[in-house]
Symmetry: C2
Subunit: 334 residues, 2 copies
Amino acid sequence: MATIKDVSRLANVSISTVSRVINNTAQVAPEKREAVLSAMKELNFRPNSFAQALVSKRSNCIGVLVGDLCGGPFFAQMMLGIERIVDKANKFTIVMSGNHDEYRERHAIEALLQRQCDALILHSKALSDEELLELAHGPTPVVFVNRQVPGAEDRCVWLDNREGTLCAVRHLTSQGHKEIAFITTDDMDFTDANLRFEGYKQGLEEAGIEFNEQRVVSAFPDEVGGHVAAEELLQRKVPFTAFVGFNDAMAAGGISCLMEHDIAVPQTVSVVGFDDIPYIRFIRPKLTTVKYPIEAIGEQAAELAVRMLDNKPADGIRLKFVPEMVIRDSVLPR
Amino acid sequence: MATIKDVSRLANVSISTVSRVINNTAQVAPEKREAVLSAMKELNFRPNSFAQALVSKRSNCIGVLVGDLCGGPFFAQMMLGIERIVDKANKFTIVMSGNHDEYRERHAIEALLQRQCDALILHSKALSDEELLELAHGPTPVVFVNRQVPGAEDRCVWLDNREGTLCAVRHLTSQGHKEIAFITTDDMDFTDANLRFEGYKQGLEEAGIEFNEQRVVSAFPDEVGGHVAAEELLQRKVPFTAFVGFNDAMAAGGISCLMEHDIAVPQTVSVVGFDDIPYIRFIRPKLTTVKYPIEAIGEQAAELAVRMLDNKPADGIRLKFVPEMVIRDSVLPR
DNA sequence: CGCACCGAGTTCATCGTTTTCATCTGAGGG
DNA sequence: CCCTCAGATGAAAACGATGAACTCGGTGCG
């Protein structure tokens, strides 16, 4: 691969002159600029980004930590939002998955840092607030997604999860439902899980419905888990006319289970999901759910990260998002 | 961030010695090694990967070009396979999306190359065989996924797409279906599309069924497109007892459309998808489909890439994959 | 006339590593 | 007792770029 030296030799100028035309950092006589340009083209020259990064202390990379890229479309959608912004800022994204595991999340962040990312966007689930706060105090700008880290509130872009399940329950109670179950994740260390659970309880309370822990079942937060949880719920023989899913995947799995038991959805049991992932529009019945504007959240997080590393003010960046109901066909009035 | 110099000073040795203990590249007296190790820990030292890459001409990165990370779980699954292998080789992955666009694919590859990736794994759809072949002749090892580039067959990891739709049609004909439609993508430049179409026609031919182009409809290859295409198929009033979807998403969209028209699936119309993406187990009816072992393909591609950049022989690497039917509930005998 | 200034170049130090080569030490053989 | 040799260590030259400092004519102004 050709270097800047080769170009300078071919164009009969010094390497600094070449550097100048590359970076447009100072004026260069038109004929020399032409010479450099054509030499660059002839040698198919592209600046070595490592050399650039080494001396300029800028890698032009933004590191992103996600849970997983495959557990569903959730993180993929977030990446879409992030990449749109990062791309616009002429930078690159490096993604690493933490797989919801403390050790691996830490490792991934280390790797991102070692690669001298200019900024980090972290969707950490397993690391403690303290550890994250310490990171935030480090030299590299950090943005947290989907989590409020105490002491770094101005760097957190998040959705009000409590409000989400609260909406879901309100929607159901407004339709006359009183026996509302909750199919949730078995990983209750996860802040989201707690908040969604609280929203659920608050919704019941608002409607004057007594909370019954028999109506709460938990399992792995995917389709299979939803299926398993619904099975358990049925076995408990506690009546319910509706359930709220921790996420759409669990809701879909739960519906799948009910149907196998010949329980009609939504005629017998109404269902509300959470997230509004793309495919749930295509399951039967079309799922009523709470929209998690993850793409927009990714965009704002990326925007914030870009601003931070440019030391620009973070004006107009939305930190808190509020969920919205998406009404489809899986809820019927009681 | 601490540098190797800081470490050497603290440990009272030369930087070469530090480098030696980092890389285990030569023997170092035990007490010095200890001193270095503890100094490294104390300073929280991590080698600057740019400096390393600059001098050693190795970035330890493998660049991946995908279509999109969000159009469905397809590429995410591929990444899962790739990352597993790359991680095992103690390297990193850099992903870029080409968004199925010629210009953007080229740009993404350029970016990957400029970042001095040690090897490239490309899922290119828009670039020409010639262009890819030229890349393959360049200094950076390249592996192509899901495409056979003439002249670089030993670097292509791919699925026999023709065989896939062939299987699908065979499955339907074996169940007595004769009027079989095909809901396909509108982007017929795409090699996969052509091969799947050929498989469909071949399947009909084998069963002695005359091909009727009225039974082929095309649209954007996602759920919405499937819906649109099915709508058109119905409008054409050409009878069909089954259809094969270009992919699962289109099949799901198509089913969704049929149901809205009160056409029962699979009682009235049987459906076979393609890909076996995770969620289609949860749509009603559970979709019978052709499995696209994309995760395994990703693994093999990554393995090949790693071998190539180590100049190791590519023994035992599977290049061609054969699709398999996954029988679920969306096909009924005629 | 002399001086400051200006634009357009060049030279050179620098970034944080790896790696080659030279140096030094001490042990063992003749 | 000296020479050789191996093993441990350090000094210094890359790697490819950037950017500060400097050079060199040529202007404009007091």
